[in-house]
Amino acid sequence: MSDPNTKLDAQDALSERIGSDPHVLLRVISKFLIPLIALFAFYVQFHGDYGPGGGFQAGVILAASVILYALIFGLTEAKKAFPPRLIRYGMTLGVILYGGTGVLNLILGDEFLNYSNLGKDSIAGQHYGILAVELGVLITVTTVMIAIFYAFGSRQPETSDEDW
């Protein structure tokens, strides 16, 4: 039979250890989950070549990991982890990857976005092409999702004038 006093002591010790933070469980679990969410995003991304999935879904999942981080640790911390100035470059990089693949096809003498000549045969070419395009989609969708979340999350525009 345990003494009720020792039980109380144990609770005190626990609350001392976690401090005044009531969200420690959330923090610990989400710290554990966030890398897994990001990993799952990449699974969806690369699964998208031949099965259901692809850049759009993967981008949303990847952005969800950042958004979860922001929900648990606060917007300021999230902005340290994923600086808002990256957003603009990310959006552009994605579009350039997508469009640039199309332009590369033009240079190789095919129609716009006809990937057949990218590899040694047309199947390999289509595969490489869709990889590049989906990567572009992933980057743009991720950054746009985070941009939307940041915009809603911070009522004042937090991107300073220099960043824009």
């Binding site: 552009t92 469009g99 199309g102 332009v103 033009l106 716009f112 057949s116 824009w164």
Partner: protein, 507 residues
Amino acid sequence: MSFLELVPDWLLTHGPAFLMALPLIMAAVTAILPNKRVAWASTFIVTAILTVTAFSIALYNAEVGTTIYKMGGWAPPHGISLVVDALNAPVLVLIALMSFITVIYAMPATVAEIKPNKRAPFYAAFLLCTAGLLGMVITGDAFNVFVFLEVSSISTYVLVAMGAARDRRALSAAYNYLILGSIGATFFVIGIGFLFMETGTLNMADMARILADLDGGSRVAKVAFGFIVIGLGLKLAMFPLHTWLPGAYAYSPTPVTAFLASTATKAALYLLLRFTFFVFDPSYAYVADVLMFILVGMGVVGMIFASLQAIFQTDVRRMLAFSSVAQVGYMLLGIGIATTASVAAGYLHLLNHAIIKGGLFLALGAMWYRFGITRMEDFRGLGKTMPLTMGAFTVSGLSLIGVPFTAGFVSKINLAGAAADAGWWWAVAVIMITSILALIYIGRVLLLAYFQSPPTVNGTVVARNEAPIAMLLPMWTLALASIFVGLKSDAMVGAATRAAELLLGAG
């Protein structure tokens, strides 16, 4: 065809894809360019290339006829095709050329109207809008039309809202446009959905073939047609659906107003032509009814009411905006009569009105740039203080009224002639009456500008203060173009006739 020999072959074969991909990619690049002057330069170069490309594609089209570009090498009807034919080639040239002219004008205008940190995004949105407009005109895939319609619309909302630095009412105007524009796009995509249900394809040529096999199709096709007409009617400011337009034109930055007035509603009108005559056919009873009662009815009511509203405006930008609604009425009338001559006249008015309204809005923007003028009474003595700008305004204004030897005269006389040939004498009368109404509202401005002395500020008469050359050049290009079309209209009339013949067959 000496010009075509200078153009490399790959530009002619891959031009259609180039035309929409280049501004789309460059919009993204422009958004991150640090310096606003670099952003302007890149936009300038892109629009210059677009103009050359569109022009050479149009010439090439006149030589070889309809060309189909298979996106990604996927053949239609399964893949997305880009189609250049006699109907859309002139509209492509118009959009590319107007974007180029607007960008020249925008260099001084944005300095005055857009905050420095918003200038690169402004040019990015401008390029996106151009890409969307070119895309929705060039594509041969009905769903792709919707995608590009949204690309151009969403960037337009942004562009209109950027007028907030000048006038806070731009925000409510942009919001109003956002709501109505989204409803329009939704109606359009619902229509496309029903059409897909009926035909099982999204390729427009394929849709046309299947609908013809089905003799116009079942009730689903009728519903689809209704949704598409209403959706496009919102986008092109058909009379009772035009309420977003005056605010959007009046409060957006001046280069945006000029660009929108001369391209956005025109691209939507092109789509209306494409759907009524190409995908559907006026030989189906329900299409003929819509043409006869909705398009003609709303067109004529719009011509009269919007012209009357224009007369009673105190803000010149709103006056010109209501005049745009009235001019859309002329085009709808031409489309609604549905003979080859009348459709050609409506199409011609589409092109001419873009030149005229572009010139008017550019001149008006320059007046705001120098004196902050938007109200009617501020025009007093402007003939003396800004003679060159006012001159361009006058030429374009006369062209809007339809004075002989101007572009407006050519299209109005063609329209009246086509209406008379079809036996629609009352329509001729309406055209004459609304031209007189146009004379009243433009005449009011001209009277104030030329027959009143400039106002005095602190005891001294306002001195002459002409607009900068980067503004004068674009507006006079358009003003002279409208005179040139008035004097030598063969090329434009020929292009319009070829477009109408493509839709309705010769004769």
